[in-house]
């Protein structure tokens, strides 16, 4: 089947089997390998991408379901020139070790902070509890997300 959607601001058109997951479509058809697959049953969160503003497990969504959607992956939340404030905060707080869960953490945290820039530590822990990190013990990740909140707060009206 042909499916058309937008990835990181660019329109794409892909010919896929109906059973292909969005995760595999992004990774293997579109070669956006920043999205990682850790469990294929929606528990680990490594494959989290942002679909129309919501954090979504791309292993639980079929590529054909993305028809017409706006999909953002970790690559879309990055630039070559510099780390983003969220990424800098992760680096500063040592919020990653092996890096495998990191793209899912970045996308999940970005979706959270975009919606709730004033969230507290409990809320961060609640939302991130859908993303498994096996290396860090989460302390640094929670600190990093809390520390990045300021970058997501809208500038006060003049």
């Amino acid at each position: 089947m042909a499916v058309q959607f937008e990835v990181n601001g660019k329109p794409v058109s892909v010919e896929v089997e109906p059973r292909l997951t969005l995760a595999d479509c992004l990774r293997h058809h579109l070669r956006l390998t920043g999205t990682h697959v850790g469990c294929e049953h929606g528990v680990c969160g490594a494959c989290t991408v942002i679909v129309n503003g919501d954090a979504v497990r791309s292993c639980l969504m079929l590529a054909v379901q993305a028809e017409g959607a706006k999909v953002t992956t970790v690559e879309g939340l990055s630039n070559d020139a510099d780390l983003t404030p969220l990424q800098k905060s992760f680096r500063k707080h040592h919020a990653l070790q092996c890096g495998f869960c990191t793209p899912g953490m970045i996308t999940t945290a970005h979706a959270l902070l975009s919606e709730e820039p004033d969230c507290d530590a409990d809320r961060v822990r609640e939302v991130l509890s859908g993303n498994i990190c096996r290396c860090t013990g989460y302390i640094g990740i929670v600190e990093a997300v809390l520390d990045a909140r300021s970058a997501y707060k809208k500038a006060p009206a003049p």
Partner: protein
């Protein structure tokens, strides 16, 4: 210029790619003409393999071939043991693919090669298997009966008994004024990595060269095994380490797939890739930890430990894998932990069962041993009416007793000694930072429906396994310097810490270290890899040696160019200066390369103390951590930030094993926890209140850095601490946890039993 990058919490260079999703893990590789391997695994725990009929599978468009044991000339090769390769273990080693018997759910039976993973999985559905059931051996108690044998020629399900001995335990116990005997158990869990394992192999028929991607941990050793199995010289095989999504002792050992995929690539002359899925990971990657101790402790009336005596039974699973004996060897040797135990007589029995085979997991044997001794010590304190802290203080090995000889283990004649340290100093620091005296008042109290409990446990962590590590330095064409290491990266951040060590040793800004290459067989002449918390000590010390030789080589080369003596040459940042104002750009010496090495047979022992304050809801059996403190003395911290990351990360893994993680089987050896919804891992909401402090009070005397292996200290004491804290919180119910994990059900049952007993 004297650098001080060592000791600085530098942000990691690895992060720049990982944060952008630009890490390259093995599944990110996609050469053209790639075939995908999917492995058919036994769904029977114990049986005789009668037939595999793949004819229907081969008819599916896109299925290239199906490979079984019959396709391997001379039969499938065995996987030899890497550590403790005793002749006694030979009968229990694993074939790369089953040929006559199956011995665990998950054992490879056939491999499908297909144009996509999905087509390969379709093919698995239609392969017809005939397996004649044999009675399963689901645990060590069944194994001990020897009614159903996993390996008939061996005549027993017991692979070996390790004997740990020190002093004369029998005599000591005879005269001991106090003895307590307990049966204690640790659960089965493992070093689950978030990135499942993967192997990709490419065969170049023209040059006869095999390239294997996805290597980790011990690539040089694995190349040696593969070369022998597949009939190629070692030089004809290159092992490539890509980014690695976690190791923890489990990834990077030689598994069946490490032969099957390269074999397939050569067999069909196309690149072949296999990526483990999560269910496979849970039944194919090395399990760990499941053991049971029947153990006695003897003490003086004042709590001074006299000895430990008894038996440990380890559930090895179905085969002796590469490092499978390490845990069973370490449990009796390290059960004394940081405490003075003059007399030890512990037999550790290795039982084969119809489960996934075991290997090491961070803190192998030390986690189990710590749980056993720490549970015993709290019971001793209670029996003898001695304060728990005081009891530990009284028994900690003092710095004057260092180096301290621990029990020797036969038949491997494993002798070991702790290298240095002041264990009491770490205990005191932990108590102070934790606020023990204030919190102790809450002990056993019921506040807002929750019982408060405290525990403190001390530990040692082994590191720096020998015999050798290599490091190489090379001048790049732009005058910067590349570092090449025999150590491997498994996510711990070695690129950053090795850059720090190299920059200090060469006295150059850290940015002049352009790359740190590691883990592939192309880096150095002979590498040993990443295990037993050895990278900083072994690799770092090799790097110091390489730096000294590198500087001398630069001076020699520059002296020739500048027409002077090497002793007259002075090294600058990017230039080399000779007498009379002459100089040379380092770039002009591009390609100059020197290898160094570090040899060491002794181990480092970092040490410290864990303290926890928890609350328990006795009606729900549910535990919350209010505060948890780890103090660990590491001798010398290269990067305190990443080191704290190692401690907290390993602590949470330890808490996972203590509270959540459990690989469960039924009586038929069927695996019951095949998803991450069944096998519970710690998540961000589980353990929020954790702290750690790194100290450098006692550098190791056995390496030039003074560093000690420190990647496993957070995990070692976690089981004992949590069980003791639960016991102390629920002391009014007489609760004594004797097994891990401390699931809500288990705690609730203990509370119920305690209430029943009180009512009687």
């Amino acid at each position: 210029m004297k650098n001080t990058f060592i000791g600085t919490s530098m942000e990691r260079r690895e992060d720049l790619r990982f944060l952008r999703g630009k890490g390259i893990y093995v599944d990110d590789l996609a050469p053209s003409n790639l075939l995908y391997a999917v492995i058919m695994r036994s769904n029977i725990a114990h049986g005789r393999l009668k037939s595999i009929d793949a004819s229907a599978a081969l008819k599916i468009p896109g299925v290239h071939s199906v490979i079984t044991a019959k396709d391997m000339p001379g039969g499938p090769p065995i996987i030899p043991m890497r550590l403790q390769p005793l002749p006694e273990f030979k009968p229990f080693e694993q074939l790369v693919i089953a040929d006559d018997k199956v011995r665990y759910v998950g054992e490879p039976l056939a491999m499908v090669l297909a144009e996509s993973v999905a087509i390969g999985e379709d093919a698995l559905e239609v392969i017809a298997l005939e397996i004649e059931d044999l009675p399963a051996v689901p645990d060590w108690r069944a194994a001990e009966k020897n009614e159903s044998l996993l390996f008939e020629p061996a005549g027993s399900n017991r692979a070996l008994t390790f004997e740990a001995r020190k002093g004369d335990a029998d005599a000591a116990f005879k005269n001991a004024p106090y003895v307590r005997r307990e049966q204690l158990r640790t659960g089965r869990h493992f070093g689950l990595t978030l990135e499942p394992r993967g192997v990709m192999a490419e065969w170049d028929a023209a040059s006869g060269h095999l390239t294997v991607s996805g290597a980790a941990k011990v690539p040089f050793f694995n190349r040696r095994i593969l070369a022998k199995q597949i009939g190629l010289p070692e030089e004809a095989i290159t092992m490539i380490e890509n980014d690695v999504g976690g190791g923890y002792g489990a990834r990077g050992e030689f598994y069946p797939e490490d032969f099957l995929i390269p074999f397939a690539a050569r067999h069909v002359n196309r690149p072949v890739k296999w990526i483990e899925d999560r269910r496979e990971n849970l039944i194919a990657m090395n399990h760990a930890r499941e053991s049971e101790a029947d153990i006695e402790i003897a003490c003086e009336r004042d709590g001074t430990i006299i000895g430990l005596r008894g038996f440990v039974h380890t559930d090895m699973g179905a085969y002796m894998r590469t490092n499978g004996a390490v845990g069973a060897r370490n449990i009796p040797q390290f059960m004394g932990g940081p405490y003075r135990v003059p007399h030890v007589k512990i037999d550790s029995l290795l039982w084969m069962t119809n489960k996934t085979p075991v290997g090491t997991y961070r803190g192998p044997g030390r986690y189990e041993g710590s749980f056993y001794i720490e549970r015993l010590l709290d019971m001793v304190a209670h029996d003898l009416g001695i304060d728990r802290v005081e009891l530990r203080r009284r028994n900690l090995i003092t710095s004057a007793e260092q180096p301290y000889e621990i029990a020797t283990v036969q038949p491997t004649d494993a002798r070991d000694q702790y290298d240095s340290g002041d264990y009491e100093q770490a205990l005191d620091r932990c108590l102070k930072e934790f606020g023990w005296n204030d919190k102790a008042k809450l002990q056993g109290k019921l506040i807002d429906g929750r019982y408060h409990g405290l525990a403190v446990c001390c530990f040692v962590e082994g590191g720096a396994a020998g015999p050798k590590e290599s490091a190489r330095l090379e001048i790049n064409s732009d005058g910067t310097i590349s570092v090449f290491m025999g150590s491997s990266a498994v996510g711990q951040g070695v690129e950053t810490v090795f850059a720090q060590i190299a920059a200090d040793a060469l006295e150059v800004p850290v940015d002049r270290i352009s790359h740190v290459h590691h883990g592939s067989t192309t880096t150095v002449s002979d590498g040993y890899g990443a295990y037993h918390s050895r990278s900083v000590v072994m690799g770092g010390s090799a790097l110091l040696d390489a730096a000294t030789k590198f500087q001398a080589a630069i001076k020699d080369a520059a002296a020739k160019r500048l027409g002077c003596n090497a002793s007259e040459v002075r090294l600058g940042e990017d230039k080399v200066f000779g007498p009379g104002g002459k100089s040379l750009l380092l770039a002009e010496l591009a390609g100059l390369t020197v290898e160094g090495a570090f040899l060491n047979k002794k181990h480092t022992y970092s040490y410290g103390t864990h303290a926890a304050h928890i609350t328990v809801d006795a009606k729900l059996g549910q535990v919350q951590i209010v505060d948890y403190m780890v103090v660990q003395d590491v001798g010398r911290a290269i990067n305190p930030m990443t080191l704290r990351g190692q401690i907290i990360g390993s602590l949470v893994q330890g808490l996972g094993g203590a509270m959540l993680e459990h690989l469960q089987y039924d009586e038929q050896g069927q695996f019951l926890t095949g998803t991450l919804a069944d096998y519970l891992l710690p998540t961000a909401g589980d353990f929020p209140n954790l702290r750690c402090i790194v100290t450098e009070d006692h550098p190791s005397p056995i390496n030039p850095l003074g560093a000690k292996g420190a990647g496993e200290g957070g995990i070692v004491a976690a089981g004992g601490v949590m069980a003791n804290a639960v016991a102390n919180a629920l002391q009014s119910f007489g609760v004594q946890p004797r097994q891990l994990p401390l699931t809500p059900t288990y705690i609730w049952e203990l509370v119920q039993a305690g209430q029943r007993q009180a009512a009687e």
